[in-house]
Symmetry: C2
Subunit: 226 residues, 2 copies
DNA sequence: ATTTTTGAACTGACTGGTCAGTGCAAAAAC
DNA sequence: GTTTTTGCACTGACCAGTCAGTTCAAAAAT
């Protein structure tokens, strides 16, 4: 029993009271808080270095927990990552859906809905840049364990955009010659890459600024004098 | 079974007289062929699994050479990867530039140039899907050894698009209110994600098909009936 | 009293990189 | 024309280090 209970430089475990108490998964609050800390630690590390280059020891250290705690809460490193993916895309999908529904409720057009979703996407990336990086980095890989998880979760998000496009085609707002699936992908790509460029290379710009630039592109107000 | 001195399937060293005999890098043809094989092996493996998850042994095996050969040709795994990046983006940049210049030579507008570059991008991704995957997966990472290489090389490619946009703004073809840098990024993203989706989820579609869908989006022919 | 976390030791598989040695085609020597 | 030498390109067994995952007794939190 040589080990001192408090190693030099160990973080003091400050207990923070967050509002998110219980319900959802039925897990105890304490456990949920630990999992959240692990998510946050893992997401930044994996965004920076990639999954394979990130060690469980690093994740535990950054989360301020012991390695054993990681394995108490998650079956494996892969499982931690998969649940992280599901968690993150769930947030995005909910946000996109909310934007589309709010626009519809307020009597906006489908273009307005698209625009609102572009903004929702930007807000999401603004808040969770690391998750976005990580997701982009993994999405088109093949032969990985969590491939199916990624597919399911991608479809969830893209389907929201496709839905709005399809509705627009049905009510004549959009040309019926557009390719819904491809156009949805292109729109997602537009926002994704523009936003990642924003965060990586011009982080000082405001969200509104970026949003208006993309709106212009989305609505074809590019040709001709301003 | 220890390998015989001539492993099965070993390439017969055919001496090919190419014009690039000497000077430049002074590399022999044999050596260059080996490096090419290593590029091809590395690009697919890293696209599938990521850099860290790909072992040098795997790369060597797929290229059909011994591990030592990898280190004879490249200083390290990282250096192999960096040179691979430079090599690939060089091809893309040349292709984009060629498309823009050809359009200009033929008296096309800047929109035509953009369209030609979209097609060039699609052709590139069609031919080198693995490289594209790999590039996307690494571009926005931080804290990696080859970060600076990626930046330089990204700028090379994006600058071509920015150039066309800027020219269009100068001669009044595009609104002077567009954000050149952000719009360029968004256009690249549009093509990138649409193409990766194409290759991943609808590989049976033709390039022309995909190109026309993107052209429509690019030219704002989305709203309104057919 | 029960759940959750800690922390350190341990294992076994795997990995990047090394290096002494091999094969061989062209150059040099004869 | 034959023999010898040269040195480039390649080989693959080997090494030192690393990492995911396990174990578990003790402590802390609820």
């Amino acid at each position: 029993m040589t080990s001192p209970s408090v190693p030099a430089g160990a973080a003091v475990p400050v207990r923070i009271r967050t509002m998110e108490s219980s319900s959802t998964t039925g897990g105890s609050t304490r456990r949920e808080a630990t999992r959240q800390k692990l998510y946050e630690a893992a997401v930044t590390l994996i965004a920076e270095q990639g999954f394979s280059a990130t060690t469980v020891d690093e994740i535990a250290e950054r989360a301020g927990v012991a390695k054993g705690t990681v394995y108490y809460n998650f079956a494996s490193k892969s499982v931690l990552f998969e649940e992280l993916l599901r968690h993150g895309v769930g947030l995005l999908t909910a946000s996109l859906r909310e934007a589309a529904e709010r626009t519809a409720r307020e009597g906006g057009s489908r273009v307005d809905a698209l625009d609102a979703m572009v903004r929702a996407g930007l807000v999401f990336i603004d808040r969770y840049p690391a998750f976005t990086q990580l997701y982009v980095a993994e999405l088109w890989r093949t032969n990985r364990a969590w491939q199916s998880t990624l597919m399911v979760v991608r479809q969830q998000a893209v389907a929201v955009v496709e839905g709005v496009l399809r509705e627009g085609v049905e009510n004549g707002e959009f040309s019926d010659e557009i390719d819904v699936q491809l156009t949805a992908a292109a729109l997602v790509g537009m926002v994704l890459v523009a936003a990642l460029d924003w965060k990586s290379f011009q982080p000082e710009r405001s969200l509104d600024d970026v949003h208006s630039a993309l709106s212009r592109l989305l609505q074809g107000r590019v040709s001709g004098k301003g």
